[in-house]
């Protein structure tokens, strides 16, 4: 963006990134019509990973339970959506649907219920995040990592124990269908991806603006030197908690979007693997970089798909396919996590950018997870911790 010769305001940068993502996503839904589901998954995960990259890169904290917050948001959105539907906030089905299912097709949820449900999901996830964060952010990173790991592991048990969450079968969700002219012209599946894209663009725009502005500077100050930050009046614990709550909220929104895209919610969507893949997306993109996390999310969603396609293409035996199906992507992404962190604290994209010489163009903040200035600009690692 520097190429335009003008230093741009944080808000303008955010809006630009949001618009680019929106446009690229819409193009992708037409370029790859057979991959609508994967595109939707990228968008939903991107929303969740965007908050995580702020938490890891800008605030220097780690969450291993983002899938837990996605699940929180997903179930909250699903229950809200179904409650509004049951309360009678419905519209008559679009003609496409009634044509397919006969004249007596059931009414569908009113379109305005969707943003309500999504916001409810994000809000509940933020509240749960605040609860968890209150306990854990005062301590060193390992405590928060452990607590969030424990949190991520209770998704399936909670759905099994609490009535009304549908257990392992999950819930069917009455999500709104696209209203008539749009639904028939564009297609229901594509409209859903577009809606998710709008949400993702908004989230990215707001986060870019926030991170480049005062809030981001506060976060980085609290990350780099706790004592110095406290001395200039930054409430360190509160700033860290805020970053954690933001990451929980975006994960909740991502979970809600996943519900809208699929029309169902299942505990199996939100396993430990999802949390880990989101972390890989963040690290590969360069922790703290909102532009990088887009590439990182694309990568982690693409790896399992490519693995499956390659195995099908080489006619691997069913036994071999069964062994490699989940494990090969897990191994590859785990290896990426290790190698990228060991070799390039700024992430793969930061390294690429150095190679092409565009040093500061699209950067959003830090050089990575406490990167000790390997790309010459970096923050300094936290040097002390004084427990209460």
């Amino acid at each position: 963006m520097r190429a335009f010769g003008q230093p741009t305001s944080p808000g303008a940068r955010g809006a630009a990134l949001g618009l680019v993502v929106l446009a690229a996503g819409v193009v992708a839904t037409y370029a790859l019509p057979g991959r609508l589901f994967a595109i939707g998954q990228v968008v939903a995960w991107l929303v969740a990973a965007a908050g995580l990259t702020i938490l890891v890169g800008q605030s220097g904290q780690l969450s291993l339970g983002q899938a837990g917050f996605m699940a929180t948001g997903a179930y909250a959105a699903a229950l809200t959506q179904n409650a509004l539907y049951a309360a009678g906030f419905t519209v008559s089905p679009p003609s496409g649907a009634s044509g397919r299912f006969g004249a007596s097709a059931a009414p569908t949820a009113a379109p305005w219920t969707l943003p309500v449900a999504l916001l409810a999901g994000a809000a509940v996830a933020a509240a749960v995040g605040a609860l968890l964060g209150l306990a854990a952010v005062r301590m060193r990173g390992a405590y928060l990592a452990g607590a969030t790991l424990a949190f991520g592991l209770i998704v399936t048990p909670v759905t099994a124990v609490v009535d009304g969450l549908g257990g392992e079968q999950g819930l069917r969700v009455h999500v709104p269908r696209a209203p008539d002219p749009l639904g028939t012209a564009v297609g229901e599946g594509r409209v859903r991806v577009w809606v998710a894209l709008v949400a993702a663009a908004l989230v990215l725009a707001v986060l870019v603006a926030a991170v480049r502005g005062r809030w981001g500077r506060t976060l980085r100050a609290a990350r780099d030197d706790e004592a110095a930050a406290a001395l200039v009046g930054i409430p360190v614990a509160r700033v860290r908690l805020a970053a954690f709550v933001v990451s929980a909220a975006t994960a909740g929104l991502g979970g809600g979007l996943y519900v809208y895209l699929t029309g169902t919610v299942l505990p199996g969507y939100f396993g430990l693997t999802t949390s880990l893949f989101l972390l890989v997306a963040v690290v590969i993109g360069g922790a703290g970089r909102l532009v990088g996390v887009i590439g990182g999310t694309l990568f982690v969603v693409a790896v399992p798909i490519v693995t499956t396609e390659v195995m099908a293409a080489v006619n691997a035996s069913p036994a071999l396919q069964a062994r490699l199906a989940g494990n090969a992507p897990l191994a590859l992404l785990g290896l990426c996590l290790v190698l990228v962190t060991l070799a390039r604290p700024g992430g793969r994209l930061a390294w690429l950018r150095r190679q092409v010489g565009v040093r500061r163009g699209a950067r959003v903040g830090s050089p990575g997870v406490h990167g000790p200035g390997r790309d010459g600009t970096g923050g300094k690692p936290p040097t002390r911790h004084v427990p209460e």
Binding site: L134, G141, I154, R323, N327, G334, L337, H370, P387
Partner: protein
């Protein structure tokens, strides 16, 4: 009352395992200020290898000897090839790398052994003995208690009575001073990783026969349980980890035993962890001292 006695005794036996695994986390934390999030995966891998060899040659008892050795080797390799390359201040990166190692190890195990549970038979009966009308422990749980106690005593002797133990403690508490006094701190750190991973594998071999068996993620639940136990004890204190292990074992047994709902265990665990962090974030045994990083 009978039920309470049974749950208490059984909870103590399970607590011994959690305490042992918690010790392995505390050993690394003391040496390197890192929680080894790959410990669960590494210990399953060690038991897997030990069982492949042990079941052909000498059975479970040989495995009991082999698993800690294989685990220690894996711990040393992990420290040498990943952790040592990170600077001492990159705590967050260390967790991320450990997670990556765990993913690679678990995926590797899944590729080699598949993703179905493979039963790991116990060397002695797992039928609960009844003493005076009160169901107590199975012979196997007695073995578990005895083995864990032996290991605990051995570690205590190692750290308090031997020159090696002194060097290990010195490297952990004051690396600069220890280095000046001729202790090879780097080697001690590697040794601590090996020791810790060996202890973790030992705990895994003890606990896995009581569950559904071997699986790449079979120790994940034990990891979180032991982490909670270690935090309860302060994460820095071996004695705290042992007491925390027993406490967590009892709490989990009471919760799941009285409700007959195993799904409550992870939920209770998270509640306990958050309660400890809110009320006594430095652990129940923390003294008034403030230590820096």
């Amino acid at each position: 009352m009978t039920r309470f006695l049974f749950l208490t005794i059984d909870g103590l036996a399970m607590g011994a395992v959690y305490a042992t695994f918690a010790l392995s986390l505390v050993l690394i934390w003391r040496a390197a200020r890192i929680v080894n999030f790959a410990q669960a995966a590494i210990s399953v891998a060690a038991v897997d290898v030990a069982w492949v060899v042990g079941s052909r040659v000498g059975g479970w008892w040989l495995g009991l000897l082999l698993a800690p050795l294989v685990g220690a080797l894996l711990g040393v390799l992990m420290q040498r090839f990943t952790m040592r390359r990170l600077g001492p201040e990159r705590h967050l990166d260390a967790i991320i790398v450990a997670i990556g190692v765990a993913m690679v190890v678990q995926a590797g195990l899944g590729m080699v052994f598949g993703l179905q549970y493979r039963p790991l038979p116990a060397p002695v009966s797992q039928t609960v003995l009844t003493v005076g009308g009160v169901p107590t422990l199975s012979p196997y749980k007695l073995v578990v208690l005895g083995a864990a106690a032996l290991l605990g005593v051995g570690l205590a002797l190692l750290f308090s009575r031997t020159a090696l133990g002194l060097r290990l403690r010195a490297s952990a508490l004051a690396p600069e001073v220890a280095r000046l006094l001729g202790v090879e701190v780097d080697r001690m750190t590697t040794l601590a990783w090996g020791l810790a991973a060996g202890v973790g594998a030992f705990a895994a071999l003890l606990v896995l026969p009581t569950g559904p068996g071997l699986h790449p993620t079979a120790m994940d639940g034990v990891f979180i349980t032991a982490f909670t136990a270690a935090v309860l004890g302060g994460l820095d204190s071996p004695v705290g980890a042992v007491v925390g292990g027993f406490a967590v074992g009892l709490v989990l047994n009471y919760v799941t035993g009285y409700t007959d709902e195993p799904n409550l265990a992870p939920i209770a665990l998270l509640g306990l962890l958050l309660a400890v962090l809110l009320v006594r974030p430095n652990g129940v045994f923390a003294g008034p001292t403030i230590r820096r990083a």
